[in-house]
Subunit: 528 residues, 2 copies
Amino acid sequence: MELTGLSFLGSRRGAANNTSFHGVNPQTGEALAPAYYSASLAEVDSAVELASEAFASFSQSSGKARAAFLRRAADGITTRQQELAGRAHLETALPMPRLLGEAGRTANQLRLFADLVEEGSWVQARIDPALPDRQPTPRPDIRSMLRPIGPVAVFGASNFPLAFSVAGGDTASALAAGCPVLVKAHPAHPGTSEIAADILTQAVAAEGLPPGVFTLLFDSGIEVGATLVRHPLVRAVTFTGSLRGGRALMDMAAARPDPIPCFTEMSSGNPVFILPSALRSDPAKLASALFGSFTLGAGQFCTKPGIVLVPGASGDQAFLDALRTLVQSAPPATLLTDGIANTYARATETRSREIPLAASSPLPETSSPCHAQTKIFTVCVEEFLSNPQLTQEIFGPNTLLVHCDQPSDILRAARSMEGHLTATIFGDDQDLANHRELIHLLEQKAGRIIFNAFPTGVEVTHAMVHGGPYPATSDPRFTSVGSMAIYRFARPVCFQGFPNELLPPELQNENPLRIARLLDGQPEKAAV
Amino acid sequence: MELTGLSFLGSRRGAANNTSFHGVNPQTGEALAPAYYSASLAEVDSAVELASEAFASFSQSSGKARAAFLRRAADGITTRQQELAGRAHLETALPMPRLLGEAGRTANQLRLFADLVEEGSWVQARIDPALPDRQPTPRPDIRSMLRPIGPVAVFGASNFPLAFSVAGGDTASALAAGCPVLVKAHPAHPGTSEIAADILTQAVAAEGLPPGVFTLLFDSGIEVGATLVRHPLVRAVTFTGSLRGGRALMDMAAARPDPIPCFTEMSSGNPVFILPSALRSDPAKLASALFGSFTLGAGQFCTKPGIVLVPGASGDQAFLDALRTLVQSAPPATLLTDGIANTYARATETRSREIPLAASSPLPETSSPCHAQTKIFTVCVEEFLSNPQLTQEIFGPNTLLVHCDQPSDILRAARSMEGHLTATIFGDDQDLANHRELIHLLEQKAGRIIFNAFPTGVEVTHAMVHGGPYPATSDPRFTSVGSMAIYRFARPVCFQGFPNELLPPELQNENPLRIARLLDGQPEKAAV
């Protein structure tokens, strides 16, 4: 398609004005056509009004109808995956195979939620029938189910231009729940965002849904996002990005006259605990796998292993040597934006003044402002425990090895940790069994505990938890990946004493949708 | 038991110091012995440390073990219900039959959660088995379930000295989830709180649980509560009370370095929509039922119907006349504290200067500072829509009748409303069917929608939702009554690639607990 640079406001497009910006090719530093125009605050306001109007009917649409819409969007992603990945490659420098894979994942996420809401049991229908003969007073008929929360503001993420952006997991799960979505495009990949929005807008029209179901707003700054978070008709917010940005949105949402849920996924060191047994067989292979994980996507994954606890003293020499060799011969990484690259250079520079730099890849010979060196740092556990700066994530291709001389050091380090998305343990089964206390501790620190695999792979399934205690996310009771992500956008509503035919179908006696329900607390698919 | 006035800090008791207060008999204004001593901040800190230590083992206890503990506490409530209700009657002036009923409800809540966690399916176990042959990469084994969130600070409520206080629904659901509880006693019923804490502490000891599982802290002021909410080891907060108090706690929890969930149940007008068909048969009966509902417990219910929309013009004369007669002959109400009575007198006084007072009960002849007059106000819908003050709850025996002349007035009024715990519609089935848009609107405004019954009855069941959008509560995605209340205190944790025997029993292949689980998203009780 020909890119226009204009926001999507229902079936209209935004206006071209004098506040424009461009996508930038991180490989070359060149600005990419066309110019993108920041939405005006009047446009934001009218988009939210439209979303709120659309909510009236969209919230009452059937799971079947929403599934058809999500599948149409998924088909659009699949059909245009080369176009999406090609533009994303220009704007992010992420490799084409990765971006094509991400397009596939994006389509699959939409299909996962389509299946979920078409089947329908996700609403957690509960029926407690009337007990007219109960003494001293009869019990009325009480039924409840989850209903959508209202228009949702979604912030596109820089590091997943497809799967965590315009048509990504947040959008898919909010739409599946029955919530209109207003996306604030990430300014680092506006063209990719425009193509994805075109696909979603066409799906909205083709399914005959009200145009306010989907909005895309461009902005080079923070005004549009802040206006969305503060808008009285917006009912929830999602964001994936920096701790500073996420916390600012949390504070904004909490300071509203009517605070709203704000799901931010922010900062995670994803600690990896390498037990002695893990280094006995093939330390070079483990080093190579770690290297692959912390440099994946140029180290720009939320689940990048940024803190690695290794046995100290002599046990890890072969592992360290192998890792050093890999880092020293790594090609220059290309980060998503010059802002990210600058921050990375500054943060690694600061860290290398505080603790030993164990290895670094060669200085890039090119002059692109987005190029970066791969680095590993080492520190002893005492220094790690005494310097909270060291637990702060440095976004980019680096990791920190923490040497634990005593077996008890591992527990001390774990106990000192804040929240993370993941925590990983490497070792044999016996070693794991000897570390039950570590497992129990890590349960309190992370959303996902992994045995013998690196955390960068995040499966989109029913059991996945991509969440964790602060500062990993704003709210550890929810996940942003996997089918449970839909629960961020729904709230229970109870109907008491209603005539059967006026209840939502999910709660009617006959169970016309054949969903799983709880009848007096017991699972039951039969009619009441 | 002989009351001592001392806080419960695990197996120890707090110190007597020079900051003491007394319970007060609202009937007479007399101070009740003994003196109660505010916990020192050092005591608060050591109680939280103890709770955090207890969490390590309590969070790993079986549902069976927690059920035994909750049942023992329930038995204690039942055995000592006369003692509890007797003291509560002295401290609150609520009638004995109501308090004995509340003691029964309190015990039943504990038993409901015992049954829930003994059965065990509440943890929402999900298993996505490994797919070793998946292309291009194998899928690992992924399993998740809910785990307890950590120590919870519970604020006792003034209006339910048993069921929403020390051993009330918040405490029961947090303990059931595996979270130690630190209760800040409401200063209006310290003796009742001490007896309930004695029962819980004995149950903790009898079941061999770590003493930090339960704490009771007295305080006449706000220091102890604020210290709890800000304490780094406290992981969630619950509160039932005023909008001002609840919002202050929300803001405090959101301003922490690591914000935590704060469940406050605050202010609700519980609008009642009386459709014309409801007044056709027996308007006097409806008036009597309304009167009974808004004066129940001296109008101090969270679910008191405080806004009643009635057909205007001529349709409601008989209804209004009957209501006026009831109000004019109502005996003086006795409110819980002189503070509540003062606020009530001021607020009704202000309101009667703004809009017509339709009826009032006689001035009480006694001099108790807690006595109050029952009042009803009337207003036309235009005035109601133009004056946001009128939607503010006045805690106590009063309600506001809003006259709707046009059928469309009802929708306009509904649209203008903020969040409420409940919304009620009275009418016949046909009338309800003609008001689908109203039902859909109310879904967005309330946690529970009731047909042809007043909202003051709140059943403790699996489908109950006692929640709603702000300002009714801080978070509309949760309920504080019914078995779903447990979900406030749990978060999902994912285990990837774990050996079967190191998984929690809920996630092991054999399904040793025989709980309902999701296998690849499908309900399944069988082994994997």
